[in-house]
């Protein structure tokens, strides 16, 4: 049976924790709003890019000199999985659910006899992947020092990926991130970026454009940029999802702490009353004995 002092200490400590989780929830809520605006602001660029590339890709016929980034290397033996996760924890199952999707995909690919390698962005995912596939990580990008995600960060990552591709170290690249649906729902998503996939446009919709320089040259110029844009979008979505997940995780933690405080206070009061009653009985029976 814990003493009254123990109970008091326990309640105080839970209260202190509750204050922290409450503060974290509010910080996450504020940052979520900013991350959401950033994700929305980035949308027009990505959409336009996709539209124009889609137009271009459908207008040229695949030939020997089609950029490899669009046509692929002709094999799908070696896969690169780009895993975008967060730098910090305390966000519920956010990172674990991304890594789970990655592991399912990786195991499925390896069961088919394909080679799988990992490109980790974000410390949390790196830590988890490292435990399962320690020898298959080719790159790890740490964004901890980055205060606000900029296009330059994405550009740096895309450059590394394209470098690896040009060196011929993989055939297919897929980006894994968490799609931000709303504050409580984040959906782990896989998106293939190399070779690029575009939605097929309905026939007759395409406008006849004049191109300067040639279509194929524009395509060669834009495809690497498109990868940076895709990575940027994934990072922004991820960030918004992260704050969403953190907010709901901290909301839960605050509520649990509240429940715990209520329960502990009840026990504390009962024990205190029991002790008072006991003392009274002792005094009264002592007085009666005289």
């Amino acid at each position: 049976m814990p003493s009254l002092k123990d109970l008091r200490n326990r309640i105080a400590s839970v209260k202190a924790t509750q204050k922290i989780t409450k503060a974290m929830q509010m910080v996450a809520a504020a940052k979520l709003r900013r991350a959401q605006t950033a994700a929305e602001a980035a949308r027009p660029f990505a959409e336009r890019m996709e539209q124009v590339l889609g137009n271009l890709a459908s207008s040229i016929t695949t030939s020997a000199d089609t950029p490899l980034l669009l046509a692929g290397t002709g094999s799908d033996q070696r896969h690169l999985l780009i895993v975008c996760t967060s730098e910090r924890g305390l966000c519920g199952a956010f990172n674990s659910s991304i890594v789970r999707l990655v592991r399912e995909r990786a195991n499925a690919l390896m069961a088919q006899g394909k080679t799988v390698e990992f490109f980790c962005v974000g410390r949390k995912g790196y830590d988890q992947i490292r435990r399962v596939y320690p020898k298959q990580i080719v790159e790890f990008v740490d964004l901890r020092a980055v205060r606000t995600l900029g296009y330059d960060n994405a550009h740096g990552i895309a450059d590394k990926v394209i470098d690896l591709f040009n060196k011929g170290s993989f055939d297919v690249a897929t980006v894994f991130y968490s799609h931000f649906k709303n504050v409580v729902t984040q959906i782990p998503t896989a998106q293939q970026v190399i070779p690029a996939v575009f939605e097929q446009k309905a026939a007759g919709e395409a406008v006849p454009y004049d191109y300067e320089p040639e279509e194929s040259e524009i395509l060669a110029d834009l495809l690497p940029r498109n990868i940076a844009v895709q990575v940027f979008r994934a990072l922004l979505e991820n960030q918004a999802s992260f704050y969403g997940a953190q907010m709901s995780a901290m909301d839960n933690a605050t509520r649990n702490a509240g429940d715990m405080i209520k329960k502990q206070t009840l026990i504390y009061n009962r024990t205190r009353q029991a002790q008072i009653t006991k003392e009274l009985i002792e005094i009264i029976s002592g007085a009666e004995a005289l």
Partner: protein
Amino acid sequence: MATFTFELVSPERLVFSGPVTWVDVPGSEGDFSVGAGHAPFIATLRPGILTVRGDGTAKRLFVRGGFAEANPTTLTILAERATPVEEIDTAQLRQLIKDAEEDVADARTDEARQKATVMLADLKQVADALSQGSTTASH
């Protein structure tokens, strides 16, 4: 004068959106101007100064990396970097030029060297245009 909708989009935000009469664009194969009713046209950009003319006003922006898509009613420019000329940090531009010079020195293939040289020339031109602009403004 006839106007058309001009949108300048960078990955981070929508930089400009509104009706304009005329836009000068630094295309990778030469500068071109777009007015209302332009034929459908797609071109890539080189680093340079973009001039937007509205009703009697002109706005100059430094753009880098991307492409322009024109059709009779709209012009959309997607640029990886788009900064109003007034906000350009000369130190930053100097850094870019330095990086480009290193790229030229480090280039291993002829093709890469040629690309880097073109990039360097473009950046220098921008720097020249800017320094001229600021001296004329100070007179």
